[in-house]
Symmetry: C2
Subunit: 494 residues, 2 copies
């Protein structure tokens, strides 16, 4: 906090040093992705004068890059869930999310989110977001049809089945191909534009403006090479994304994931919102956690195979979500130089045509002994693992990892092994799951839990519903950023 | 940062609101453990007026509770290493520490520490710290004799042997029993008392005093129920310990370790120093990491046994350091309901007499099949694991986990299984390894790496040399806190 000539994120400007406000508004929103758009709509609808400052030349953020299978349910079920024959109890949804994130779960946010999930569905459809009353039944990472409802997480996998009844909660927009995110942001952007919201593109937020009492009065934004002091009478809402594009921050805060993973997000995910919040005294949570994935399906038929380490030990039930598999594969590599996916030719199926994984074939064999040798696994190790797995698969029971019997099928010759080792071909994407401490209502908190007056945040600038890759489900992040973006917009307008 | 009536750690007081300085000094040191004592000695020796504020009624901190096997070496070897026939190259020590902590390592601190390790040895002996020129050769958690040198980490274990030549670097003080920590603090306390240092016991530091430029001018301390404003002309040095006694902080920052582990430290390890630093704009690192241990030796003979999960899979080379085993056992329990230590009666040896572990016998058997059944492990699983292990042990090679051949011996009937599952008896101690960002010279940094003028820190209030349980060695923490305590004391005096 020593004085420097350059304006930096963690060195807030003092209100009393401001001689001129270049822009005056009620609510300044930093970032025009899913969170910022949702916050702007609610703020404007509550009668506030709203200004959005977006780094890029267009709206979108990381939401526009996502598949946007919005995670919703509870309250008996969304109209889509009900139309597809699913009843979804709120407590069941709460229990599922608590099981997903264990002692890292933010129970207050989970409850807020689940109890109001139908309201959120209605808010989205009210803006024109289209959901078809149909289900995609296959195991998929994303819906490429315009069908709506799908299982997007670990709902049907052990140990989550011990905690909650499986219900699909991913809601894909009614659009062909992987185009849910762009369509969602198109609709939200139109909703913003139809309201009295000033949008400033190509505008970089630099640091917060804080008074002697520690309250946030505004924000410094650079527009056209000039620093502008923006006064935000009701508050600043930071919706500036996560930090997966900031290598230094990933190394510092989330070193587990500083290992050659591919960041997925937009170029603005540099953590600037988090740093600005810290500079104003905000606390952070979950900074060490990221989403990571080993997207080994489609084809879903690969799920009949097994994942092993360099001792040929299995380490996870292969029917769980690709994020859970990715996380466990990453951790396994601390003590293993290789990760292999072992399948038979039938399971391999359309892998080469359909896969996002990019893993290359490490070996093939007519016998496991042959494959084991080709992979230079310890003698007998893979033979034992496959023999045991096959024996259990025959009986429809996996006492080792509790893979569901629907995915248990003996692996038969000829065999194929894919090299799923990080750095040897496969796609391991990641993005960050830690950020500013906030209340469900959007206020930013100090490390001791006090509210910082005038400061709000939402989206991946905060620690939200999704806390770990091991518990993640597709649609949780877009669900979280739009819902809690709305809450922040509402609260700031009060 | 909103105004509150109560003085809290993360809400610094503004210098301009101070109407009266109750105490004026050059350097205010918070905490009289190993770090604070070392900082005080160096500050006083550099001619500064020094005041220590200690929460407890006596010096000691967590250093006095430790075994204090100070981790030193490099530069050809300490006098003890040389007398015991070991040559220790500085680069070898640097390489070892880098291998210990991977991308979490602070290379600047590691290099500073290793290059000046002999100087630190001489500083300690100059104060009267006694080291006998002798070695304790057995595998032990701590020396109970007055011998000095011992292997205290993973130096001889895979994969560290791939990165550095094994050299023992733990330096136990010349004292019988587990009394190194008390003796070290007695000597350091005498050194402080023989210098012009004001020591205030029963004094609780509340929050820093910061001016408008963000520089630290002093600290608020409560003494005799009264808040005292302490002016520190040259700076405040936070040496207030870690946060293992603060359940909320552990849950928030280090949730992996919020699972029923036993905190080891002193009651003052509440994170107050870290929170005060944060309040003044400091960044933090490594907050999610803790030391954790499964102290399964002594008796060293247990090392001939194997650790397995509830699939009877081994998961670590059992000849590594107990912290590395503890960490891996903890992570394994995310996907395993049980952890067992399997040994034969010969390996079990004096377990009941010598062990710190407290694990109870979960089963015994004349055959592995019998033991497997008693432990309700999947049929054939333990038989395969033990058969394979024994076959490899016969050849002196462990292709699975690379346990050193010195610890490979077939496990023979009758067998014993100890239940090493967390929550079912065994002692899993922990303490925190994250804290304020500092330079090797002791200055505290903002999240963006700028120096906060007037603020220094050392010890477990900072992120120091030891970063993970998986790479920890006994003596690293006491080595780190005393060495970097000195550096902070020197720098603050400049």
């Amino acid at each position: 906090m020593s004085q420097t000539n350059k304006t930096t994120a963690t060195t807030p400007r003092n209100s009393k040093d401001i001689t001129h406000w270049d822009i005056e508004t009620d609510i300044a929103i930093i970032g025009f992705g899913g969170a910022g758009a949702s916050a702007a709509i609610e703020s404007a609808d509550a009668g506030s004068k709203v200004s959005i400052f977006e780094l890029a030349s267009a709206s979108g953020g990381s939401t526009a890059l996502s598949s946007a299978e919005i995670y919703m349910g509870g309250n008996g079920g969304t109209p889509v869930q009900q139309a597809c024959g699913y009843h979804d109890d709120t407590e069941n949804m709460v229990n599922y999310l608590k099981a997903c994130f264990g002692n890292q779960a933010d129970e207050a946010k989970i409850r807020h989110y689940c109890e109001n999930s139908i309201g959120h569905y209605n808010w989205l459809t009210g803006l024109g977001v289209p959901f078809k009353l149909s289900e995609l039944k296959e195991r998929a990472i994303m819906a490429l049809t315009d069908d709506c409802l799908l299982f997007t997480g670990n709902e049907k996998a052990y140990p989550f089945t011990e905690h909650a009844s499986p219900v699909p909660r991913g809601h894909n927009l009614q659009v062909e191909g992987d185009n849910g995110g762009p369509l969602l942001m198109k609709i939200l952007t139109e909703a913003v534009n139809s309201r009295a919201v000033d949008v400033h593109y190509d505008s970089r937020a630099l640091t917060l403006i804080v008074n002697d009492a520690g309250d946030v009065d505004g924000i410094v934004v650079r527009i056209d090479q000039q620093e502008k002091n923006v006064r935000a009478r009701k508050g600043v809402i930071l919706c500036a994304g996560g930090f997966c594009m900031n290598e230094d921050m990933v190394k510092k805060y989330a070193p587990t994931f500083d290992c050659g993973l591919i960041p997925i997000g937009n170029p603005g995910d540099t953590g600037s919102g988090i740093l600005m919040g810290m500079g104003a005294g905000a606390g952070t949570s979950n900074m060490h956690e990221c989403f990571v994935s080993l997207p080994y399906y489609p084809p879903a038929s690969l799920t009949y195979g097994i994942l092993v380490n360099d001792k040929a030990q299995r380490f996870i039930n292969e029917d769980c979500y690709h994020g859970r598999v990715g996380y466990n594969a990453l951790i396994a590599q601390r003590n293993s130089s290789r990760i292999y996916f072992i399948t038979d030719v039938e399971g391999y199926g359309d892998y080469e045509k359909m896969s996002y994984l990019g893993a290359t074939v490490a070996g093939t064999g007519d016998s496991i002994a042959e494959l084991e040798q080709e992979l230079t696994l310890p003698e007998g190790s893979l033979q034992y693992t496959v023999d045991t797995y096959n024996k259990h698969a025959e009986t429809g029971d996996d006492p080792y990892f509790h893979k569901h019997e629907a995915w248990l099928r003996p692996i038969k010759p000829p065999y194929v092994a894919l090299d799923c080792t990080l750095g040897r071909g496969p796609f391991y994407p990641f993005f960050t799951l830690g950020g500013l401490d906030t209340l469900p209502s959007g206020e930013v908190l100090t490390p001791e839990g006090n509210i910082i007056k005038g400061l709000y945040a939402a989206g991946r600038t905060t620690a939200g519903i999704p806390r770990t890759a091991a518990g993640y489900a597709s649609g949780m992040s877009v669900g979280d950023v739009t819902y809690f973006g709305r809450m922040a917009g509402k609260t700031a307008s009060l």
